[in-house]
Amino acid sequence: MAVIRDMIPPCELFQPASIGDALNLLDQYGENSWVLAGGLDSFDWFKDRIKRPEAIVDLGGIEELSGIRADGDGLVIGPMTSLTEVATHPDIVGRFGLLAQAAEHVATPQIRNQGTLGGNLAQDTRCWYYRGGWPCYRAGGNICYASAPKAMNAEHCVFGASRCVAINPSDTAPATIALDAQMVVTNSSGETVYDAEDFFIGPGIDIERMTVMEPGDLLTAIRIPGTWAGADFYFEKIRDRQSWDFSLVTVASAMRTSGGTIQDARISVNGVAPYPMRLDEAERAVIGQAPTDDIGVAAGDIAIRRAQPLRHNAYKLPLMKNLVRRAVRAEV
């Protein structure tokens, strides 16, 4: 991709004021449309001229897509709510601190000021082969360059590969899984609600997308149920630099402990698979147990049991294991 173009190619910009108008535009332009949330993922694609939509639909003007409001004992978060707001909103900080922490660990202050929760959840992978405009599976081609014998894949996946070995880079995604969040996806034929866990898909299901959303779909709400309000949370993101960097491995967990034993648990990791992974087996291994380091180690061992590292990323196994261990141990 050394033929640098580096100017956004001419296209139209639409700034609808309602979800309905946005959906009409998306239907009208179909695959040639592009949904613009914060834009931090999008502009890269445009400037590299790898993605060249005819119509950009900027959701910034749709009021109903922003903001945080109570919904029973839970919350509904508009997908266009900025990550800064998610990280600082008293209801989120106070009751669902896991999501606030996750949002706070995204990139940099400026990116959090502009980046949205919806955009962070729906962002595309950062595999540098794919981002380089190489014709890989994810780009509609028939090859995965990142898993070739001499490929540079220290930051690729250890689980869930299906031809493509890219990872999901979102920091907030594992938090939504650990909180049993639901994603409301709307298109011109109606609304579908997905559990966070099902919202993210792997290349086995669709190698060109990271989520269930297809052209014409909009993420219109993120629902956080009251289930985990005020539970014990653990979030940790490992990276080489403390700002900007995407995670090498991230863990997000929610637990309830009483009488010295873990009553219920959700553990989710990202950075290890093409989708944020919920660790059901590790969860089962800790429920009913005391949150000790030993139990943490056992849960960590279970978590990495079926991992298949690539040439350069075997380090992700001990890293993931230790993060699970820390999530359990943090309950002490």
Binding site: A2, G132, A154
Partner: protein, 805 residues
């Protein structure tokens, strides 16, 4: 009496413009009718242009012209491995092939997209060791190394044998025939004398400079003169170099480069890409802006050469180094003749003063971006590689890690390099002692490898010397009838504040208030003198001297004018507070303003109409233009001196390494320097800390990644290259200086740009090894994956000699 300017903190004269947004860097200039140029870069690591079809692009509305390597107006660049701005045989992915100019940048980008270039792929190599294999690919059609013999330089094919590779196995450096070899003593005798011998395979990555300002350039022509706005470290040298490249008279080129947004060695004498804007403007008859973006900057913006190395060191029980056997395979990139490997050998000899030493090296071209000097070229690499070995020796010998450095560190009589040269001064041991005190070495080393929760504490030290000066440059200043001193600087404004700090030598000689001095820089139409090349930390030393010399010249003229007007001998006059006066009777004298008027009236040497005959032609031209505007002080630095000039920084670091995640938290850093007299404490601190931060990036996070199959770069964006951010460094860093003047130079100051980076890199490498209980990882960068693999005993992500990962 005016307070001496030297040694005081001041606000640099350009600061207000910089913080209000008024400072104009190259891309901030606009000219009427300006076109935008855009580059088409090679998509392959090595290829040849067979055919360019630009018809569709040139037919687009708004597209004005195309420039290729074949254009008759393009300068012919000759010389071995010389680099033209555009080429038909790209030697690395990202090398510029052609440029298009259009009325706006989007149209230029569309035009680039519409151009079809038929490239013929050629053999390529990204790992030097692959190129050294029998039958391995060469980066160039005519060979893989630059052979030097006397004055001859030629590209040759250079290969090792299968036996060399077989003997080493996959993870040790094969050591075939060397391109360069030198010996001091007999290295085997040294090892025979040793009580402890250590051997390591070492890898140091290549890494890009990544200055914040990409090397954008804007050019236009007016009345036969080329006006060029660009980003460069050295105004005078770039001016000369540009005129030379374009085959023009220096007086026909006006170079405007008031601000340089970072260079670190990558913008020493201007970039080849300047030609594109200059020639495109010449061709189209319109001003041309060539905005360089971050990708392009990473491709064409130079990089530090990486090393694949073998080091063997012998020690006596007291820690004294008896022998060093060093073999370096340097990744020379696609262009240039980077001498990093040679300097690395010299720095190793200086740091440890081995009784015997053998140095061998090969510098191999690869199809990766061009290399150039980067802050302490060769020095930063070798100290980051060898300092952890010193730690290991100290551990095995049971002596303190500071002591083992002190035992081996040179004094003023230290030697360096194959010719066993001498230095002008050396306060390395004093700096070590001061550092130990400021950092609290003794208390902190008690914490070595102790645990704080899951974090293991490590304390480290890194010593880093580098060249700190040159001699023989010109100084030019004018006292105008307004009574103010105008100090003309041919040096560039690369952010070190040296345009102001070296000018202070003149200020102090004339006893002026700093507020009455004005620095003139950054625009060759403003009459600038010849300068040092502003590499290797030459500036401070070279230009405190040249400005000192020019000021002494001015002072002598002031004394003569005063004596002539007021009687007495010139010797009986002195200068202070903007006056020249009789020492015995300070009331008898005249203001500089008056002296300046008299100098204009007197003409001749006083006004600059007669000049010394040992000046550089650029200084002569500038002084001639200024003649008659006031009292001129102009002189070449003829102070002379023995030996080379070296400065030191001793870095002390404390880290906390999380044993479960491999994350490194750098909690403390102290840099202590021997750089002679301290000119400007705050900018010295900035150099020590800023260099260290770059060193942290070098040793810990910065990446330089290539796909071996395609020879294409990945870490070409900042988020993939990972230079350190503000959260990756200690919240507060400390510094100290020995502050002993170098006896051979009038102000006593030595340069300090280079050594801090190696100190930072070596100290953190040493501290991480300490936190890991003495485990030397022997490679850079020490990214989380590498550290965690070591901590958990998992397979290392990379083989010991695997490069560009």
């Amino acid at each position: 009496m005016a307070e001496k300017a030297i040694g005081r903190d001041i606000a640099p004269p350009d600061l207000r413009a910089k913080i209000t947004g008024r400072a104009r860097y190259a891309e901030d200039f606009r000219a009427e009718g300006m076109l935008f140029a855009k580059l088409l870069l090679s998509p392959m690591p090595h290829c040849r242009v067979r055919r360019i079809d630009a018809s569709a692009a040139l037919a687009m509305e708004g597209v004005v012209d195309i420039l290729t390597a074949d254009d008759p107006l393009m300068p012919e660049i000759t010389g071995v491995a010389a680099e033209a701005a555009l080429t038909n045989e790209p030697l690395y992915e990202g090398e510029p092939v052609l440029a298009v100019a259009a009325v706006d940048e989007t149209t230029a980008a569309d035009a680039i997209e519409a151009i079809r270039v038929d490239f013929e792929p050629l053999p390529f190599v990204v790992d030097p060791l692959d190129s050294l294999r029998p039958g391995g690919p060469n980066a160039r059609l005519d060979g893989n190394i630059q052979w030097r013999e006397g004055q001859t330089r030629e590209i040759r094919e250079f290969k090792w044998t299968d036996e060399d590779f077989d003997a080493a196995g996959p993870d040790r450096l094969p050591m075939g025939e060397a391109q360069v070899e030198w010996n001091v003593g007999e290295v085997d005798d040294g090892f025979a004398d040793a009580d402890l011998v250590l051997e390591e395979t070492l890898l140091h990555q290549s890494l890009s400079h990544h200055p914040m300002e990409p090397r954008s350039v804007m050019a236009y022509w007016q009345n036969g003169k080329l006006y060029l706005h660009t980003s460069t470290q050295s105004t005078a040298r770039t001016h000369a170099g540009l005129a030379n490249r374009l085959g023009m008279d220096q007086s026909d080129v006006v170079l405007v480069t008031e601000y340089c947004g970072g260079g670190f060695g990558s913008k020493i004498s201007g970039a080849p890409i300047n030609d594109v804007a200059a020639i495109m403007s010449r061709k189209t008859g319109r001003p041309v802006m060539l905005r360089i973006n971050r990708y392009e900057e990473t491709y064409i913006g130079r990089a530090r050469p990486g090393f694949q190395s073998f080091a063997k060191m012998g020690f006596r029980n007291d820690g004294r180094v008896t022998a060093i056997d060093l073999y370096i395979v340097q990744d020379a990139g696609s262009y240039g003749s980077s001498g990093d490997f040679n300097t690395a050998g010299t720095v190793a000899s200086l740091c440890y003063q081995p009784e015997h030493m053998r140095f061998r090296a090969v510098s191999v071209y690869t199809n990766t971006p061009p290399r150039s000097a980067q802050r302490a070229p060769g020095g930063a690499q070798i100290v980051a590689m060898l300092e952890p070995i010193m730690d290991k020796a100290a551990r095995e010998l049971g002596i303190d890690r500071l002591d083992i450095r002190r035992v081996n560190a040179p004094g003023h009589d230290g030697w360096l390099g194959p010719a066993q040269g001498t230095m002008s001064s050396c306060f390395a041991r004093e700096a070590l002692d001061l550092g130990a005190e400021v950092f609290g070495w003794e208390e902190r080393t008690q914490l070595s490898a102790t645990r704080r929760g899951t974090k293991s504490i490590g304390v480290g030290i890194g010593i880093s010397p580098f060249v700190g000066g040159s001699r023989g440059m010109d100084g030019l200043l004018v006292i105008r009838p307004d009574g103010r001193l105008y100090i003309h600087q041919g040096i560039g404004n690369l952010g070190t504040h040296s345009i102001a700090d070296t000018a202070r030598a003149a200020c102090d000689v004339l006893g002026m208030e700093w507020d009455d001095c004005e620095v003139v820089w950054g625009d060759t139409s403003r009459n600038l003198p010849w300068s040092s090349s502003q590499s290797g930390s030459q500036t401070t030393h070279a230009h405190t001297r040249s400005n000192h010399a020019a000021a002494l010249d001015a002072k002598a003229k002031l004394q003569e004018i005063a004596a002539g007007a007021l009687g007495g001998s010139p010797d009986s006059y002195d200068c202070a507070d903007g006056r020249v006066f009789q020492t015995a009777n300070p009331g008898r004298g005249m203001t500089f303003a008056e002296a300046a008027r008299r100098a204009i009236d007197m003409g001749g040497r006083y006004s600059g109409h007669e000049l010394p005959d040992d000046l550089n032609p650029m200084t002569v031209a500038s002084a001639t233009n200024l003649a008659g505007e006031g009292l001129m002080g102009v002189a070449r630095d003829n102070y002379g001196g023995d030996g080379s000039i070296w400065s030191w920084v001793m870095g002390f670091a404390q880290v906390e390494v999380d044993v479960e995640t491999g994350q490194i938290d750098l909690t403390e850093y102290t840099g202590v320097t021997d750089c002679g007299t301290v000119l400007h404490p705050r900018s010295l601190a900035a150099q020590i800390h800023g260099g260290a931060v770059q060193g942290f990036g070098q040793a810990r996070s910065q990446k330089w990644v290539f796909d071996p199959q395609w020879g294409v770069a990945f870490a070409k964006r900042l988020y993939t290259a990972r230079p350190p951010g503000i959260l990756d460094v200690p919240l507060r860093m400390r510094w100290a200086a020995v502050d002993e003047p170098d006896p051979q130079t009038p102000v006593g100051a030595k340069g300090i740009g280079e050594p801090p980076i190696g100190a930072g890199a070596a100290a953190i490498a040493s501290a991480v090894a300490d936190a890991l209980g003495g485990q030397c990882l022997c490679r850079t960068p020490l990214t989380t994956d590498v550290v965690l693999a070591a901590l958990t005993g998992t397979e290392q992500p990379y083989r010991p000699l695997e490069t560009h990962v």
